[in-house]
Amino acid sequence: MTIKIPDATREFLNDAGELSRFAGRFFYEGLRPRYEVREFVRQCYVVGYKSLPLVGLTAFIMGLVLTMQLQPTMVYYGVESQIPAMVGISIVREIGPILTALIFAGKIGSSIGAELGSMKVTEQIDAMEVSGTNPFKYLVVTRAFATMLMLPVLVVIADAISLYGSFLGVNIYEKTSLLLFFRKVFENLEYIDVVPAVIKTFFFGFAVGIIGCYKGYYSSKGTEGVGHSANSAVVVSSVVIFILDLIAVQITDILT
């Protein structure tokens, strides 16, 4: 008796296999010369700079709102002095990385998907190939490296801004100094809170870049295909980010 795999499952497994192969090719081609350094630097700038305002704004609001919502409960139990510690840990361990990564996926993942998709459809990728350029190295390797490197940087900035938002939130109810607030935050933060949180963001960044590129690179003909690439780049990378987060939390648990 043969087992019949439903079409949707088969398609999903196919896609996952193709994506893994694509990621494998990234490492194969990325480690071999020629290195497209100029394009890589340009991508770092584009990827980092473009998402900074949005990331900064959401991080700020998140820190502020989180603090304001915690305030009444903490006051009720008489532990309002613990707000900086609590907010600090939740931002650094979880909220900062995941929120930034999701915004990054929405902003950068979709733009990479759309850009490569339209390059594919209008034969720009073919044109690169006949101009003595390996389009995989020039387009995919540079972008995936750039996202992998820039997301952790963005997360650190977002954490800082978010904590500042929280500081302002605390100040609505009682006056504290910035120094005192941050001392309370860092007193309660340990390496085990910070290091895994930073490491996982490299994986989040890589996922956003490689999935955006994959969706764009294999975009189907027509402008509709481009929209679809952009859309599914965001959906798939967001889901993958949550899955990676789940894995990261398990690994951190085992190690501590």
Binding site: E115, S118, M119, V121, T122, E123, Q124, D126, A127, M128, E129, V130, S131, G132, T133
Partner: protein
């Protein structure tokens, strides 16, 4: 005296899944001639010329370009050949994120490493002036009209002074006057640089003006081959369909 063939295609087969696009296709391009390939939309014309430049790998068959067996070349040898074969893409393929200047510099910088900036600038301006668009050098492709984009793409194709040019539907989507300009430009280039070219088109006016010989791609094979007048005199229904 018959002139030598710069491109020889023998027994070419290519399918995509169950879709057999090319089935035993044979064709020679002679030095200095303009050969038009005619065929319905979807008949595999783009697939054919993408095989010639190594963008699509055929399933079977031989392609010889400038005396070299294309399918046995390694990456560097293929790049060498690609410098001598220009390709004008159906959708122009101008890089949206780059200025006209950067678009033209791209193939130069990529293929030839030791050029000084003044040399590069000269070549770019030279190529642009050739197509009469010197003033657009700092514009983005999105700011140009369809006909201008086609001419910029042509300038980019010419910048490496190719011996062979492959044109994929150079006049499709342009108005009759602009297409005539492009066709005339192609003729001028042909005479000025002594290039050999394969031109893919549906445009019968283009065929009449620009072709030395015409090949008809029907059902995956080279169904008919001859001069415009020879084919125009044919009584075969499939051939006549293009003329009437």
């Amino acid at each position: 005296m018959p002139s030598e063939a710069v491109i020889q295609i023998k027994g070419l087969y290519k399918s995509f899944g169950a879709n057999e696009v090319l089935k035993n296709f044979n064709l020679d391009l002679l030095r200095g001639e303009s050969l038009v390939v005619l065929g319905k939309s979807g008949s595999g014309k783009s697939v054919l010329i993408k095989c010639i430049i190594g963008l699509i790998k055929p399933d079977r068959g031989d392609i010889t370009v400038l005396g070299q067996d294309l399918l046995s070349l390694d990456h560097e040898e293929l790049d060498q050949i690609r410098q001598k074969v220009g390709f004008l893409f159906q959708s122009n393929a101008l890089y949206d994120s780059m200025t006209v200047r950067d678009n033209l510099e791209f193939p130069l910088r990529r293929h030839t490493i030791n050029l000084s900036q003044p040399e590069v600038d000269d070549m770019v301006m030279d190529a642009l002036n050739n197509v009469g668009l010197g003033h657009t050098v700092d514009m983005m492709p999105a700011e140009l009209s369809g006909g201008m984009r086609k001419r910029i793409a042509l300038a980019r194709t010419l910048i490496l002074r190719p011996e062979i040019i492959l044109y994929d539907e150079p006049t499709t989507g342009l108005d009759p006057i602009t297409s005539l300009e492009i066709i005339n430009l192609m003729n001028v280039i042909q005479e000025k640089y002594q290039t050999s070219s394969i031109i893919i088109t549906h445009d019968m006016k283009c065929v009449k003006i620009a072709s030395d010989r015409v090949a008809m791609l029907i059902d995956g094979t080279c169904y008919a081959l001859g001069t415009y007048d020879e084919l125009n005199a044919s009584t075969d229904g499939k051939v006549r369909a293009f003329f009437d």
